[in-house]
Symmetry: C2
Subunit: 249 residues, 2 copies
């Protein structure tokens, strides 16, 4: 079999396979911080730092989704994408993802106010989160949608996480509603986005750009955990001004 031309369109099934391969290789399910979490080896202080820093990411999700929505001229796309705003901001009756994450923060023993004001969040967390919002603003609409495809990989991670959090940190069990919701929301969203990306990447450079955007998003998630690991696991040097757990490990 001869090598296909580097400018030839990648067949759809192969494009999907390439996107999925990025998850295997680069998604943060393999990050050492998550491995420790799932082995029950994190202290409460480390879980507090995780919940607090990850809130900075959660709080930006509707902003990045509204940015993606605002860039589409297709009412069908916008209607489909609108679901994400509801998932995270809620419908005014049942809580959305952001409220549920705040309950997780509270279950770790920190106040929701600390998360909302962002006091003590690692600067490196903010830079990574801002890089994500900047990606969906400044790259093409196709790349912005492709960057959301990490949701293809989240269900397995979340399923494992909920199981292990219950097992190893039972004191956290009251704060896990966020993950329950995401187990059905994320796969629905990912299926829509994957189909959309495959359909709308109509040239080889567009296909490559979509793949790169997913890789870039994986880098962002990974960098957030690197920063947590460095500041709170080992060597354990939070930068000046960052949250410091009060408990002994």
């Amino acid at each position: 079999m001869s090598e296909p031309s580097p400018s030839a369109l990648i067949p759809e099934a192969e494009l999907v396979a390439r996107l999925r391969a990025i998850g295997k290789e680069r998604y943060h399910h393999q990050h050492p911080f998550h491995l420790l979490m799932h082995e029950g080896k994190l202290t409460r202080g480390q879980l507090q730092a995780w919940a607090l820093n990850r809130y900075a990411y959660q709080s930006r999700i509707p902003i990045k989704d509204a940015t993606i929505l605002a860039r589409s001229e297709d009412p069908d796309f916008r209607r489909a994408w609108r679901k994400r705003l509801i998932d995270h901001d809620g419908d005014g009756k049942s809580p959305g993802g952001i409220e549920k994450w705040l309950r997780l923060v509270e279950a770790t023993g920190l106040s929701r106010k600390q998360a909302i004001t962002g006091e003590g969040i690692l600067p490196a967390t903010r830079y990574a989160v801002d890089a994500y919002v900047d990606l969906v603003r400044s790259k093409t609409h196709l790349e912005a949608v492709a960057s959301s495809l990490t949701e293809l990989f989240s269900k397995d991670l979340i399923t494992l996480r909920v199981d292990r959090l219950r097992q190893h940190y039972p004191w956290l069990s009251g704060g896990l509603d966020y993950f329950q919701g995401r187990m059905t929301q994320a796969p629905e969203d990912a299926t829509f986005a994957l189909n959309w990306v495959v359909k709308h990447a109509r040239t080889r450079p567009e296909q490559e750009a979509a793949v790169d955007a997913l890789r870039a998003k994986c880098d962002i998630l990974w960098a957030m955990l690197d920063a947590l690991y460095f500041a709170y696991v080992t060597p354990g040097w939070p930068p000046p001004g960052a949250f410091r757990p009060t408990e002994t490990p």
Copy 2:
């Protein structure tokens, strides 16, 4: 003596003292990565990673300075700030700071091409550098100028660094021209910027914003070294796709 009102203007000398205090507290001269560097405890591979990643920062300096320049309506300010573009981009005859940094990269044994293409640079480095460019674009002009005041603190660090690099890593000695230039350039620039900030911060909120901007800039420099330390010192996990030294430590 009674406490001054929290809305009262900070006297000029005290504002200068506050800005200088931030350097003592937060400037990256105290970062563990620099301490190892100055003690001669870094490997060539670690110095390569440092030179390569720091190039991503150096390469953005004229872009951030042109952004600051473009935001001023004062020809005197623009003329003074223009010097920085020449310092880093050169005058076409003698090399500027960027070219000198590329020579430092080469002195570590990496190619200038690797630095210029950015292959293997840590994503966290890029996020921090982009946060700096974003700061000077999106905050006030006063805050943008104040963020440059880390140059108040750089001379002592650079003087020590050149001395220790010569002592501990003699194979690097041919690549130190960048630092020689900065020993006179940075203090001149810092004096101008400090006087300008003190003169143009005319309300208490503006003064506080200037102080915060300098703190934010220190956070950016610190986060870049955190990322290097985590990836290349300990535990030594470069993220997927990042530069990996080939030598044994």
